[in-house]
Point group: C2
Chain length 135, copies 2
């Protein structure tokens, strides 16, 4: 079986890079600096279902990406979460949060209306992220 | 500096056990099988701030506890999250979710009214958890 990104993730995100056998995606919601990490392993829904080596790679990627995003965005707090209630394919949210953002202090999921990036914003954001993220 | 559990966590949870230098707490909300893992490290708010060894211990504890809780509860999905927007002390939520639960498919935080365990329920739940959790 080969890995294929879940259609809902393909629809809602943009690929930034791959790191440690994970796809690093940008959530298409300009309200929050919001990345989604997807280990390229077919048919996995829980973190503990990853193989030993892939667990290590994934955890390292989570830490490195969240630290890099925190520094780049000067976030007040990072949110890191593997939920998957709506999209079962294992994916980890890494979100930079501000005390002034649209959902603070609650979680971001399901809050208000998604604000898609404009083409210009998307280009600028992707370029900046490629520079700061570990590869 | 010594580690002290944040007062809000002390108020909202019950200690079940310690594993890999982390406190394993039961959230006092009988609507969800909900554990909170707190690395016993003072003054830490982000996963990437843990030392190398503590990172490994914490990640291993997250995986082992979430797998054990998933099996014990026959959950439809596990939710694992480090948020900390309201309680900055680093803590990781490990929550067993059901398609029939009070918040599905949304996240559990801030949904509806907390339903505290009765003394009998608490005793029974703690005893069951001590048996199934890794130490």
């Amino acid at each position: 079986m080969t890995f294929q990104l879940h259609p809902k993730l393909r629809e809602d995100t943009h690929l930034i890079t791959t790191a440690a056998d994970c796809q690093v995606l940008l959530m298409d919601d300009a309200r929050f600096p919001w990345l989604v990490l997807v280990p390229q392993v077919p048919d996995i829904t829980e973190l503990y279902e990853l193989g030993e080596q892939q667990q290590q790679h994934t955890y390292r990627a989570i830490l490195r990406i969240s630290e890099a995003l925190a520094r780049h965005t000067q976030a007040d707090k990072m949110n890191v979460a593997a939920l998957g209630n709506q999209v079962p394919q294992l994916h980890i949210h890494i979100i930079a949060r501000y005390r002034t953002d649209a959902a603070w202090p609650g979680p971001v999921w399901g809050v208000g209306q998604v604000k898609r990036y404009t083409a210009t914003e998307l280009e600028r954001t992707k370029n900046a992220l490629v520079t700061i993220l570990p590869s």
